[in-house]
Amino acid sequence: MSMTEFLRPTRRALLAGSAGLLAMPSISYGQSDVLKIGHLTPRTGFLGPLGEFAVQAATLAAEQINAAGGINGRKVEVLFEDSVNPQTASSKAERYTQRDKVACIVGEINSASALAIGQVVQREKVLFINTGANSDALRGSDCRRYMFHTESQNTMMVKAAGRAILDQGLVRGKKYYALTADYAFGHDLLRVANKYLGENGGSIAGSDLVPTELTDFSPFLLKLRQGRPDVVICNLAGAQVTNFLKQYSEFGLRFPVAGFGFDTALAWGAGPGNFLGTWPVVWHHLLEAPSAKAFTAAFRAKYNRPPENQGWSDYTAMKVIAQSMNEIKSIDPTKVVEHLESGAKFDISKSREGYFRASDHQLMMEMFAITALPAGQARNAYDIFTASAAMPVSSESLETMAAAKEENACTFPA
């Protein structure tokens, strides 16, 4: 059989098949007893280490939601996909909405991919909760009516670690050298960091954009040494942070380190004696709030390690969705959006409840700064830091941590 003969019937069958599909719209999906949620996050590449926590936490949350009766009596089924890069994220988000008819999409870490998913859900009118992308632009110029954020925005990260290093005397009248991940997230973070440090009396000793695939930091460590800053500001992302920490301690540089881009798993992965400096986190496993302890215990029991901030975010997003849909007894995305915009309060495993700010859909919540314990003082591989008290203090409005509306204006496109 020649190649063309072989292909002919297949092609014809394909044609007939697709015609059949077209003639048969969504009837086959209909109302079933299963409610699908599409989870989409990087599981490979330089953000893959964080995606793993996201997937585990979303799995745990779905189990707990189903054990408590599901959503409006329906069982929750979470579909998982690796978002890889913005192009793939966009096409997989389309597949989730068009083929799988998911009730909502949860996940993402890469700011550029989150932007792509935001465009899809805006078009398809499906809810998307961003659990890991920090870029302020996603809450400002690129905000979308159907996109909400349990992940903190860059401004919140900068203010959390910023307040801590301000107290340590590392900002006012000091020179900083910034290393920044060279993509959407980093650029946005650098802008916010420069603004904050500048307003508080810091000045720039040096600033480099670092390619995301870079694994050897030695050329930059030599530059840091040459720049002689008072503090090194690390705006890196994903695996970059681990490599930076390992090699910074290898080269024995003595400048104090602080970072605005951080995930606890990356510090755990650096190994004993390599973690140093002060960093912001949206959540950490040593929190004492009862719901935080319950989440940590359940995660530990299932996965044999504590959850970290990325896990918290996906867990929280799942719980927010379930609670909202159960409260309004509907899965209609527009109604859920209205409910979230109404200022509904959620227990988010911290001492104060959180709510979504209607103006930019950012979850308003407490933030924390963590500081590495000196080498040799860590009790185990996970408890390697001391944490600040929650920021802001309980008498302050939660909104003081986020970008002011006029700083990061969001006008939802129709």
């Binding site: 893959g48 280490p49 793993e52 695996a239 290898e250 798993a265 992965g269 190994g271």
Partner: protein
């Protein structure tokens, strides 16, 4: 003063080059003799690193440095006999697909066994510290890496140039049919070459585990660079690969100095330039069966 800093980057770049060398040499060797573009080479590097992390608590870092490459070489033996050996004379695209698949299987297996998060591992206490050379600072541990790389390169060169084994391998690279006509089977030589090559990759992984994030993707990350080094150096050329590794290290350092966002891109740009001017690489030999 500016000159001193540039010199510092050049010196550092030369030392960094050694990191790519152990992987690039093996890659070049397998291709020149077997005609196989081994896309799974980075996987052996990653497996070497993970084995080190797993073995070090029980047998120490020193023990792992020896045992991990040996175990990976044995893994190479199995894979060469069962899989690779079927593809030496076939269409190169087949071995390309096979090794690409192997690389993905290896990466995902590591992810399933050890998780996607970086596995913690640090430089042993007795190897920590820095060396100062005037203004220049270097990590003591990296000097050890350099030493190990130098010994391996020297050893490999002697093996290829000064032994009967090496003569057969070199003849096999140039003209396998003639070698066969002389009644020498290249089969065991190919097995040995693969074992040496993947063992060296694992050794590189072992040495790099304390100073780089141990993640499932580490193999894919280093492989691209190793390829660029082989392409720039020229296939079949031992010293071409050695020189290319150093040049790539220096170019990276200078790019980081002059225009940081292009630190990685500069290396690819260099490769394009070399290919335009010298399509066989800097020192590439004319190998009849690859033309």
């Amino acid at each position: 003063m500016e000159f001193v800093f540039i010199l510092e980057q050049v010196l550092n770049g030369l030392l960094i080059g050694a990191n790519y060398l152990l992987i690039a040499l093996g890659l070049s060797l397998i291709f020149s003799l077997g005609g196989v573009v081994n896309l799974a080479h980075g996987a052996f590097y990653a497996i070497g690193a993970y084995l080190t992390v797993a073995l070090a608590p029980s047998i120490g870092f020193g023990g792992a440095v020896i045992l991990s490459p040996v175990l990976v070489a044995l893994l190479g033996l199995v894979i060469e006999r069962l899989l690779l050996s079927r593809f030496y004379r076939g269409d190169p695209i087949l071995s390309l697909l096979l090794t690409f698949g192997l690389a993905m299987v290896a990466e995902q297996s590591l992810r399933m066994i050890f998780g996607a998060a970086p596995v913690p591992f640090s430089i042993p206490l007795f190897l920590r510290g820095q060396v100062f050379l005037g203004e220049f600072i270097y990590s003591r541990y990296r000097l050890l890496i350099l030493l190990v790389a130098a010994v391996c390169v020297g050893g490999l060169w002697l093996l290829l140039k000064r032994t009967a084994f090496g003569r057969v391998v070199r003849a096999g690279v140039q003209n396998p049919d003639m070698v066969a006509a002389l009644g020498i089977s290249l089969k065991p030589y190919m097995t040995a070459v693969v074992m040496i090559a993947v063992g060296l990759a694992a050794l590189a992984g072992t040495m790099m585990a304390p100073v780089t994030g141990v993640t499932p993707t580490m193999g894919a990350e280093i492989l691209t660079f190793a390829f660029v080094v082989v392409v720039i150096g020229g296939l079949g050329s031992f010293w071409g690969v050695v020189c290319a590794a150093m040049i790539v290290g220096v170019v990276r350092g200078l790019a980081a100095y002059a225009f940081p966002p292009a630190t990685e891109a500069a290396v690819y740009l260099l490769m394009v330039l070399v290919l335009l001017l010298r399509p066989r690489g800097l020192f590439g030999e004319r190998i009849q069966r690859f033309e």
